[in-house]
Symmetry: C2
Subunit: 283 residues, 2 copies
């Protein structure tokens, strides 16, 4: 397999090279021979949606995800959250993104009712589905490592994300599978099989120890930590996933390094640890 063919499903999530603007990140993906890019809304806003669409179309890259919608769980922010999410759906549609990643949000300030927060997240998703359906956008529920259950995402397992997603058509609501969030989940390979076509994004990065002091930046380059990428990638492939594989790493050391070096390392690790276990590439 040529290097270009081997990289055809690899996607750079913008957060991995946080210092790059969207035009720089698009160029970085093209230069590295990647097939796709995962775009964040903040750098997207800096260039504007029209210019972003033009850049992406010109590059030939797929948009493997738009990050991110969600943050539904604070009742005080519910009206603005809905407006923000509708706007995100419009952007995802314009970019033809494979999914709009939903990080559902943590416990509301001073609130300890986890069940209620989980219910309100599910309800907020339900409210968004008609608009997403109308615009042909898939809403990807991202279960988050329990380390973030209090402050980022109250959906903690793939099983739990699927319990919500399965209430809707698979074309409308899927799940985002991120190794950092799910590597520890008991029975995760069975849940991946259960997910099947609902897997709309496969995000990869490693769980490293000791955990860095800032837990939001606690993610590692594939191979630097404890995740078994062979087993996990095989399970994702066995579930039928043939989409892009997005490298999303929040890490202060990586952010301080030259982005091109980070991309080179990411390519090398992907080719060694992940790509051989993904099954046949998408046609």
């Amino acid at each position: 397999m040529t290097n270009r063919a081997a990289l055809s499903r690899l996607s750079l999530n913008q957060r991995t090279t946080a210092s790059w603007s969207l035009p720089e990140a698009v160029q970085g993906c093209v230069d590295a021979g990647l097939g796709a890019i995962g775009i964040w809304r903040e750098p997207l806003a800096e260039v504007g949606l029209d210019e972003a669409c033009r850049l992406v179309a010109e590059s030939g890259l797929r948009v493997s995800s738009l990050c991110r919608g969600g943050f539904f769980t604070n009742p005080a922010e519910a009206p603005t959250a809905e407006a923000r999410n509708r706007e995100a759906i419009e952007e995802a549609a314009a970019l033809n993104a494979a999914t709009l990643v939903l990080v559902v949000g943590g416990l509301p300030p001073g609130d300890r009712d986890l069940e209620a927060a989980r219910s309100s997240a599910a309800q907020a998703i339900e409210q968004l589905v008609p608009y997403a359906h109308e615009l042909g956008v898939n809403l990807g529920i991202e279960p988050m490592n329990p380390i973030y259950a209090a402050d980022r995402g109250v959906i903690s397992t793939l099983a739990q994300a699927l319990d919500i997603a399965e209430r809707f058509d698979a074309a409308d609501v899927g799940v985002v599978v991120d190794t950092f969030h799910l590597w520890w989940e008991p029975g995760v390979s069975e849940q991946l099989l259960r997910a099947g076509e609902r897997i709309v994004s496969y995000q990869i990065c490693d769980w490293i120890t000791p955990l860095p002091a800032d837990t939001l930046l606690a993610r590692g380059m594939m191979g630097d930590g404890h995740v078994d990428f062979t087993a996990f990638s095989r399970s994702v492939a066995a579930a039928g996933y043939r989409g892009d594989v997005e490298v999303e790493i929040f890490n202060a050391d990586l952010w301080a390094a030259p982005p091109t070096e980070v991309v080179n390392t990411m390519v090398e690790r992907y080719l060694r640890l992940v790509q051989p276990y993904l099954g046949r590439d998408a046609p």
Copy 2:
């Protein structure tokens, strides 16, 4: 209810007041009017088992747990692990501890096979059961927050701990329910009902954010974080648990404070946030 009756099920785990020796901790529990103490093997070794048994008997305290056995998952340490665990069983028997807490261990160094580590933990427990049974000691499997899945404990949920425990008689193998580890688990109240009489220890402390830099010391005093102690304690009571409630908090700030103050705070928080929701006290 008198204060003494209200505190009859409260237990101080020694790690909460780490600067106290075992004799100091025993005296601290007696002075505060607590019903029990959770003992750690290291401070136990400092005074010796015979002297510890004498101190505990004289104090009238129950031993709500002995911490801890386990650390089974590193094959290189398997023989010493078995010897250590047999010794811990003997100590738990001599102290008449309600359970020997098992922290099963993380991934072996350089190993990423989580399934294999989980299997080897279950096998090691199976090997210990006959000796524990002979000495009348309950082995309490402690599921640990996934934040520790790589380096401390590969059993990550109560459901998973029960899947192992249920292979054995309830008198021989139980589960340790710790709010820090389990507060986020989807369906945890159903799992507590499933556990029923297998709950051999209820440990409490809070999940605080931002998570302290040293994740081993990331636990908070009840009320300082996100755990809903009312709902959790009610679920533990609904499962039929009538044993001691052990406060186990690893936290550098608490360790720097005078232990008597820590105990006073712990008593106040317990009486306000936990005790009213525990159901009838044990006879």
